[in-house]
C-alpha cells in the first residue's frame, strides 16, 4: 500500500505548535515511517507532488498571499487539519478583544492592515487541533485516527471537567475570572491546576454558555470584562433549548 502523502505548512505564526510536534521526538520519527512527508519548510523537505492526503496547516491568515497559498493547499488535499489556535481561531484566545477584524497599520511587504483570520474563514477545515500551543499527544491522537481512517474527535468537555478531577479548588470561588467553564477542554486544566486562571486558549467549548458565566461573575462580584460582552453577542447562552 502506498504511504499517505503529508504536507506541513505554516501561515503567520510563531511556529510554536510545530515545535510541539517536533518535541514528540522518537514518536515523530515513528510517525514519519507510516507516511511520506513531501512538504515541510521547517524540516527542509520539498519533494515534487501533485495531491496530498493530509495537509497540516499552522498559523493565521494575515495577507492575500497567504490566503492564495491556503486555497491552493486546500485544492490539492484530501484532508486539511488546522493546527493550533492561530489556525483554528486566528490566535485570539477567548480573553482577547473580539472587536477587531482588521486594524490599519503600515507593515513591511506593503501590508496596509493587520488581520489574523482563522483558516475556515477561507477554506473548509476537516479537523481542528486546538490550543496555544497544541498538546503533542492530541496531535498524535489525530494522526493515528487519520491513519486508521477514523474520525478525530476533540475533547467533548470544557476545562472545568478536567479541573475537578485534579481535586483543584475552583478559582471562581476565590473571585478569579476563570474562563474554564466556556473553554474547550483537553489541556488537562494545566492553568487552573497551577493556580492561574484559564484564558481560553483552546477556544469556545462546544456548548459554551456565556450568558451564564456573565451571571456567575456578576453574582460573585467579579468584574465582567469587555471581551465577555463581545462573546455574549456572538454565542449568548449557547444551545439552551
Amino acid at each position: 500500500m502506498e504511504k499517505p502523502k503529508v504536507g506541513i505548512f505554516s501561515m503567520s505564526s510563531c511556529e510554536g505548535c510545530l515545535v510541539q510536534v517536533l518535541n514528540l521526538e522518537d514518536k515523530i520519527l515513528e510517525m514519519m515511517r507510516s507516511v511520506e512527508l513531501v512538504d515541510c519548510r521547517l524540516l527542509g523537505v520539498k519533494k515534487s507532488y501533485d495531491r496530498l492526503d493530509i495537509a497540516i496547516v499552522e498559523g493565521a491568515v494575515m495577507s492575500d498571499e497567504e490566503e492564495r497559498e491556503l486555497r491552493e493547499i486546500r485544492e490539492r488535499s484530501k484532508i486539511l487539519v488546522a493546527l493550533g489556535d492561530c489556525a483554528c481561531h486566528g490566535g485570539r484566545f477567548l480573553f482577547k478583544d473580539f472587536k477587531f477584524d482588521s486594524v490599519p497599520v503600515d507593515l513591511p511587504r506593503g501590508l496596509k492592515s493587520f488581520r489574523a483570520d482563522p483558516l475556515d474563514k477561507y477554506v473548509k477545515v476537516d479537523y481542528y487541533v486546538y490550543g496555544c500551543p497544541i498538546d503533542g499527544d492530541d496531535f498524535l491522537r489525530l494522526f493515528k485516527e487519520l491513519l486508521m481512517g477514523k474520525e478525530y474527535r476533540p475533547a467533548p468537555f470544557n476545562v472545568c471537567a478536567e479541573c475537578v478531577l485534579k481535586d483543584n479548588e475552583c478559582l471562581l470561588d476565590k473571585g478569579i475570572p476563570c474562563l474554564g467553564p466556556i473553554t474547550r477542554g483537553g489541556c488537562g486544566a494545566v492553568c487552573p491546576t497551577s493556580g492561574r486562571r484559564c484564558i481560553g486558549c483552546r477556544g469556545l467549548a462546544e456548548d459554551a454558555n456565556v450568558d451564564s458565566l456573565i451571571e456567575i461573575f456578576t453574582k460573585r462580584g467579579i468584574e465582567v470584562p469587555e471581551y465577555l460582552w463581545e462573546l455574549k453577542k456572538q454565542v449568548g447562552g449557547g444551545r439552551r433549548g
Binding site: 514518536k27 515513528e30 510517525m31 515511517r33 507510516s34 498524535l140 491522537r141 494522526f143 493515528k144 491513519l147 486508521m148 474527535r153 467533548p156 468537555f157 470544557n158 472545568c160 471537567a161 479541573c163 475537578v164 478531577l165 481535586d167 479548588e169 475552583c170 471562581l172 474554564g180 467553564p181 466556556i182 467549548a205 462546544e206 456548548d207 454558555n209 450568558d211 451564564s212 458565566l213 451571571e215 456567575i216 453574582k219 447562552g237 449557547g238 444551545r239 439552551r240 433549548g241
Partner: protein, 348 residues
Amino acid sequence: MERFVVITKEDFTVLLERLLGAYQVIAPVEREGRIFLSYVSDPAEVNMEYKGTTLLPPKRFFFPEVEVLFTYRVTGGRVELYDKLEEVRGAKRALLGVRPCDIKSLEILDKVLIGEYKDPYYAARRDGTLIVGLTCNEPDEYCFCAFTGSGPQASGGFDLLMTDLGDRYLVEIGSDKGERVVNLNLDLFKPASKDEVNEREEMLKRVEAEIRRQELPDLTKVYEAFAKNFDAELWLEYGRRCLACGKCNYVCPTCRCFDVYDEPSLDGSSGKRVRVWDSCHFLSFTRVAGGKVFRSERPSRVKQRIYHKYCYGVDEIGEIECVGCGRCIKVCPAGIDIREAAKRVVEL
C-alpha cells in the same frame, strides 16, 4: 464477639501501622486545608477529624476516571490480549474514613455494576477492599443525607464503622471481614460499654437534627411529584444557568457512566482499550453515529441527571440514587442546587 468495641486514639495509630503492613491503605488526607482520599504510607498523613465530605468520592478507587481495561499485541496475524483484570484482582486494600453517605453510594453502585451485568473490574476491586467507615460529628452546609435516607446513620455496607468519641473511637463490626481485623488486633480493642454505644446514638441524633434544620421533603418519596412536572418551567431556568461542565457528575458518588475508546500504537501492532468517566451533561453523551445528538437542549441534560437520581433509580434498582452528600452543590459554578430543585418540584 461483641458488635461494638472501642480503641483509644493512640492505639488507633498502632492499628494504622499494622494495617499499612497488610493492606494498601486509602484514607482522608489534608492538603492546603482540603480533604482528599489518597493512598497513604504513614499514619501521620491520615486525617480522621475532617468535617463533611471529601471533594471526590470513593468511587474513583473502584471505578477510576481513566482505566486501561486491556492491552493487545498483534503478532503474525494473531491478536494477544492482556487483561488488566489480573492486576486488579490481587490487590488487598483498606479504605478508611468513609462517610455513611458514601458507604450507601457504594451499595448503590454494587446494585448497578454487580447486578444484571457484572463489571469484573469494579467487582474485583470491591472484593479486595476493606471498608472502614467513619460517622460524622458535624455535617457541613451541603449535607442532606437525613432526607435521602442515607445518613448520618449507617445501617450496613461497611466492615467496620468508627465513631469519634473524643479520646477514643467506638467501632461497630459490620462483617466477618471486619471481625477478623478486630480479632487479629485484640490487644488494641476493648468491648464497648452501653454508655459508649449510647453516646454514639446521641451524637448521630444531634447531627441529624442539625441537618434537619433545612426544610426539605422526604426525598425518597418525590417520584410522583417529579413524574408530574417533567415539563415544568423551572427546568428551562436551570437549563439556562447550567454550563454543561459535568463537574456535578464527576463528583457524584453514584454517577458511573463511561466512554470506551481504543488507543493503538502508531504502526497498529499493539494498543490498549481505555475506559473514562462520562457525563450526561456533555453534548457528546447522546451523540450517535451520523452525528445526531438526542439531548442537545440543555434543560434535557439537567433533567437527565436529577431525574436519574430521584426517579430512574427507583425504576431501575428500586431506590433513589442520591445519597445527599451535597458534592454536586458544592462544586457547581452556576449554583444549581439539587436539594432546592427537588423542593421546588414538590411544591409545584
